[in-house]
Amino acid sequence: MTMTTHGAPTRLSFATRRFMWLGASTGLLGLAILADILIGPAFLNVFDVLGALVNPSGASDPMVVTIVHAIRLPMTLMALIVGASLGVAGVQMQTILGNPLASPYTLGFSAAAGFGAALTILFGLQLPLIPQMTVPVAAFAAASMACLMVYGLAHIRGVTAEVMVLAGIATLFLFQSLQSLVQYLAAPEVLQEIVFWLFGSMLKATWFSVWISGTVLLVCLALLIPDMWKLTALRLGDERAASLGVNVPRLRRRVFFIVSLLTAGAVAFVGTIGFVGLVAPHLARMLVGEDQRILIPASAVFGGLLMVGASIASKLLSPGAVVPVGIVTALVGVPFLFALILTGKRRHW
């Protein structure tokens, strides 16, 4: 045989390299989380914030403790959870649809969540007992409805990537149109509230939303663990995966529901966040490859990094104020992506 080695790296070096990337990006995420907590429109002293963070009972200024624990920590953790959820949802969407352009947006879940929220704001609806949960519940319910629509169509025509993408894009356009209709009908002050929700902002984060979205993320990650190798096999195409013993329609259906849950859990509280679910998986794939045992955590880390980075940028762009984070996610993520496209040697898709 005339094949040459071309200086291929050894197994150990490849395995080490991708764990190093995961470690480095996790470390960077840790630093970004700290920076996000330290930075804010209140211009607090760094040492006061660190003191309030590490030893709240010993802090000299109770206002600092309140700002750090009631506002900044939930905002930062929510950014982390939403980013990680969208990163994982994005990588699974790209895997089950075999499409590099797929993201939690593709199947219309985010658009549906936006419609649910906008409709509730337009009519000023409020849930009894838990009025503060009205908009998140409506967003979650609408995203679930979009999920059932796509699944219903796929169930009738076959659970293939093509049918799901077509059904999803149709659902996306439907809910975008409905969103536009609601905005058209809304009075100016209501419209402003709707648009602010649709921008996506961490200012809506509370400890309650952190717990709910965090629990959804952890449950979904646990549900994905048994299917990691099957999802890896799916990257070879439906026929090869099936020949390896994967029940492809069942896997696609199961992961589709997990993605729906992740997306709805992420966007219901903070509003529509674009770009992260599309790009975080690509960044992860370029650096750690396609083995889902490491691609899933890497997508979560890169999603979190993009969101926390966007949260920092949203505070720095306009000192003394917080620009909605949904506006700046692409501003933070695009340079990352371009740099990797220009410098990466590995074919990632």
Binding site: W229, R240, S243, G289, D291, R293
Partner: protein, 257 residues
């Protein structure tokens, strides 16, 4: 022994396989040949449980359900240019998907590398499968199939994308494995000379039915080629002693592809 009984299958209401019967002995390679669209790939997929079919597939005396076929029978599809960036080693490891967990043991990893060494591909183990040539990719997928250690291996045109050398390498490894482990191999093929040289038996499919079934010496005749392919072809022993097929001319203008 693997036996198939009255296999019927079709797509969108069109019958592709009509009551196909055949038996396959352990330790042998059987070539399934026939014109394009005659049902070769469908037969293999039906045997593997990948498409719905009627009829029975038995391994020994035990009839296999579709899900049991997926476990007992390895199927290697035609190369369709996998563009994944999965590494070669990961692709081979997937051959034992059911044994893989969060941590890959050193023993299974070493066995996967050994499967690659049979094809001198071990130095490619960290390369992306999508970055390999069609021939190299086909060898990797064969290594994956053999790594699985199947009782039955079905191969859909395993030499279609390969150069002359790799065609020989692939078929030699398949025959070696059949002889060493008793594996039953069934390969859909187009190259009748290669089939004559490497296969213990040839099954001719024509319009979804078995037109002839037997050893190459028995069934590889000008008369059967004329009946199945609508060509005039000469069949003579080659330098190695195996039969050599030389197509001479098509018998009509529409029957070739």
């Amino acid at each position: 022994m693997l036996s198939i009984e009255n296999i019927n299958a079709g797509y969108d209401g069109t019958a592709v396989l009509l009551a196909v019967n055949a038996q396959f002995e352990p330790g042998t390679l059987t070539a399934v040949v026939g014109p394009n669209g005659t049902g070769k790939s469908s037969l293999l997929k039906a045997m593997a449980g990948l498409i719905a079919s009627k009829g029975a597939v038995r391994l020994g005396d035990t009839p296999l359900t579709n899900s049991e076929r997926l476990k007992a029978i390895a199927y290697m599809p035609q190369d369709t240019g996998a563009q994944s960036s999965l590494t070669v080693l990961e692709v081979v490891l997937l051959g034992r998907l059911r044994s893989l967990g969060l941590r890959i043991g050193d023993d299974i990893r070493e066995q996967a590398v050994a499967a690659l060494k049979r094809f001198r591909l071990e130095t490619f183990q960290d390369r992306a499968i999508g970055a390999l040539s069609g021939g190299q990719r086909q060898l990797v997928f064969l290594a994956q199939s053999l790594f699985r250690g199947p009782e039955v291996l079905l191969l859909d045109e395993p030499t279609a994308a390969l150069d002359l050398r790799h065609q020989l390498v692939v078929l030699e490894r398949i025959v070696e494995t059949c002889h060493a482990s008793g594996m039953i191999a069934v390969a859909a093929m187009h190259d009748l000379t290669l089939a004559a040289r490497f296969a213990d038996r040839i099954v001719f499919l024509h319009d979804g039915k078995v037109a002839a079934d037997g050893s190459p010496a028995l069934v590889l005749t000008s008369a059967i080629l004329e009946q199945v392919y609508r060509v005039h072809a000469e069949v003579q022993p080659g330098p190695s002693g195996a039969l050599h097929v030389s197509p001479v001319r098509a018998l009509n203008d529409t029957a070739t592809s």
